[in-house]
Symmetry: C2
Subunit: 243 residues, 2 copies
């Protein structure tokens, strides 16, 4: 069984439509590469109780939880408090973080900045050669900032610590058939390859094809066999493209 | 109290990072305009049991639930089955939908196409003058397709049926101050305006400002007062911009 993960995406700005969420896709692609199955994403408001309940539930049911957002100096940054509450932990100042903050801000350091040195008691810090500012990790919960540039930068730390299982692989077939006509052909390949995850995605905006079929799994040979078996059942002139 | 909503976004392609989710923001903006608070978004795989459990929970705890994806003819389209299961309802063919499908596909109509006429027994159909293909609604659960162009088109039906309460409004202030320096000023305005939702969003990519502050709520006069009170506490030369 593949290791499992959940993501908890935090921020009023996402649920109000002010901001387009953009961290999830990068996290999802990294996890696939590491062979970890992202099974669930939850997006919630900046509310301590809501976040704490979610952290508690997701942490118990997945190998890893990655949070995005709510980390920073201001009143709406409540993720650390919520993670501490989820595990019944005190909140403490991590001297290593405090030193980094004081060194970065120097004389301009405020009480606000120092809030970023807070962590649930028992949390660990993970950093890397390339990314010195660490990620705070409480049990299996990785607390990441919501700012997309910073979130993305920190993904390499996750990659280093989690290490790679066999990655998930994907093949795609593009056709001009619609899903109604494809259904019996897909049912046949799904029945013959229960270990391959077959997806069907119609498009309304792409002129070059009508439906994209995907074949996902960890065994390249099985994926290739499934694609071959499926393509053999297509009418003349199909598929339009393989990828 | 504002009416509440949750969104359930369904599809392996989103959790694997193959596709960037793009329906949520449009739904969120519409709900704000209608004065409905979107409180929670959950993204899950194409799994009947998972979707059914989620529909059941979200439906009980929110006024409206909007699902996106998993509607169509193929094996990975399981949303209707899951919604039926969530409410302990049978699945039935809606004659009105069947007639539309037969009229659209004519002689090319397949068993696959006709799967799109299935609905949980007791579901209603909502359409509008402009958008004739209806949305299937089971109790308070609105079942929308995942294809972005179709999802967006159907939003006008939701608008027509839900009607508008007082919309949520937003004001923004852009500054070159960082959050550490802003924190005491924000704490003051948050304390003085507990009915205004104040957000603070630092940016790393925008050259024109460092932190965006937002002031959200339903009472325009209170928002304006909060902005005025906050701006009065800023040092000379700030803010960079109001919006």
């Amino acid at each position: 069984m593949a290791r499992t993960a959940a993501a908890l995406i935090i921020g009023n700005e996402l649920l109000s439509g002010k901001t387009q969420e953009s961290n999830l896709k990068n996290l999802a692609l990294l996890l696939r590469r590491l062979g970890v199955q992202l099974r669930r994403v939850v997006m919630v408001l900046d509310e301590v109780e809501t976040i704490a309940a979610e952290v508690s539930g997701l942490s118990a049911s997945h190998d890893f939880v990655f949070t995005s957002g709510g980390v920073g100096p201001t009143h709406d940054d409540v993720t650390i408090e919520a993670v501490a509450q989820a595990f019944g932990a005190e909140i403490t100042t991590l001297p290593e973080l405090e030193a980094m903050i004081r060194s970065y801000y120097g004389d301009r350091t405020t009480e606000g900045h120092l809030r970023m040195a807070l962590a649930p008691a028992g949390a660990l810090l993970h950093a890397s050669e390339q990314v010195r500012w660490p990620i705070t990790v409480m049990r299996n919960v990785w607390v990441l900032p919501g700012i997309p540039e910073v979130f993305e930068m920190k993904l390499s730390i996750i990659e280093g610590v989690l290490g790679a299982d066999a990655p998930f692989l994907s093949r795609a077939v593009f056709t001009n058939m619609d899903e109604g006509a494809l259904k019996p052909l897909l049912d046949a390949v799904v029945a013959a390859f229960p270990d391959v995850d077959v997806g069907s995605y119609p498009t309304w905006s792409e002129p070059s094809y009508r439906t994209k079929l995907t074949f996902d799994g960890k065994d390249a040979a099985r994926l290739d066999s499934a694609v071959e078996a499926f393509v053999a059942t297509l009418p003349e002139g199909e598929p339009q493209r393989l990828a």
